[in-house]
Symmetry: none
Subunit: 228 residues, 2 copies
DNA sequence: GGAGCCTGCGACGGTTATGTGACAAATCGG
DNA sequence: CCGATTTGTCACATAACCGTCGCAGGCTCC
């Protein structure tokens, strides 16, 4: 079962960013816009992780944190606190109150995702690695590096995300449309053929590091990364 | 018993596309054209899955979702929401309201079907596998791969679909017309004899991987895949 | 055994899907 | 603000695939 992450955040821009990225990493996600809603949603379905904004309308983040830790049905619910810069002193109280981790806004999305993975892996080991190896190719999402036979490979951002996605599901065939939805994002509109070009670039980069083409073309279906 | 999927969608073009594809995958399918009808049809016969358009006349998708979740006889009814691009913020409310998954229009049919399978498999495990084995032949629809005695077999798209269809109903005899309808699609017009040629090609490919011909010709009736 | 139907299969022209170099616009990083 | 990088799209060549035909051989039924 997919881990369920609850976002408690009143700024829509932030919550959407989080929602988008968490979904992309294949979590179940819920969003609460204020403190009351957060408490309700926690009762409805216990999340595996709570991303908790410090400043929430109605019931503040710190209050929620305290209640979860002292009162609720699940006092060990992992919590990552989102604080704004300058609330440094609050941060201390936050950790006091029992948050597992905190991140200051504005935050780097990849960093936050890494922390989310880290926390969840503590709860559910073997969940999703920061480094994946398939065959002789290795990707390190934290360091943003790709290696093949210990050669460093430089990839553009899109090629990186593309390879990342392939490596999360080795062997599986994805249509151009699926790739556009997940790697590019479901809200941008680009030609399906664009995928071909980027796959081509990815191939060239991987070929340069030796070995043969690890990407399989499945005619009239899409592309897949060869397993092993 | 076949799973029953209810489509709630007012755009005829979309609902027919869904209807066609869901039928092809062997589900029972119902179509509701507006919100009221949807609620009625849910009452009449509880679906195993609801494909719910966001914008429905009379009663909106979100309202239906909420009513199902809070009120109805079956609050756990799986729901896949269909949203148009640009309704991104609605999507959040959708997940809040309790949809299990969402897909943005225009969507890739194969991807939607994959999600449908995924959701249904959660409800009814062992429903329709991504891999099927018949005798010494194995087909993996996700990886788009065919194996016989651990030899990889390369098939063209049509041969792949043909084998896929045979393997879903091993032993059963299909007429050329049936095969054209299901494997080619009911809207294309090709000679019935074309099936022979593709069966021939499929046979050759399977023979190349060793073993004898697993496809049985039934004179003046059609073809079938040998079970066992 | 033979006429008439049915099937297997190689060959062939036409169509479609894919790989790739080029290029202009967009974006990034100072 | 400029140079460097990255990105999306196009055009074109090529390879893969498709549908049809024709013929040889098999099967059926009388």
């Amino acid at each position: 079962m997919k881990p369920y992450v609850l976002i408690a955040e009143d700024e829509k821009a932030v919550s959407e960013l989080l929602l988008y990225n968490l979904r992309k990493e294949d979590y179940d996600v819920g969003v609460a816009m204020d403190g009351e809603e957060t408490l309700m949603m926690i009762d409805e379905r216990t999340p595996d992780l709570l991303l908790l904004d410090w400043m929430l309308p109605k019931v503040s983040g710190i209050e929620i944190c305290r209640r979860v830790r002292t009162g609720g049905a699940n006092p060990n619910l992992p919590i990552i606190m989102l604080t704004a810069r300058g609330e440094e002193s609050d941060r201390i109280r936050g950790l006091d109150t029992g948050a597992d981790d905190y991140v200051t806004k504005p935050f780097s999305t990849t960093e936050l995702m890494a922390r989310v993975r880290a926390v969840l892996r503590r709860i559910r080991p073997g969940l999703k690695e920061d480094r994946i190896t398939v065959g002789d190719i290795e990707i390190d999402r934290v360091a943003h590096r790709v290696t093949r036979q210990s050669d460093d490979i430089h990839l553009g951002p899109t090629e990186f995300r593309l390879l990342d996605y392939f490596m999360q599901h080795p062997g599986r065939v994805f249509s151009r449309e699926q790739l556009l939805d997940t790697v590019w994002g479901s809200d941008v509109y680009v030609e399906a053929r664009t995928v071909d070009v980027h796959v081509g670039r990815l191939r060239k980069a991987l070929r340069n590091a030796g070995g043969d083409d690890p990407i399989r073309t499945v005619r009239s279906a899409g592309y897949a990364l060869r397993e092993d």
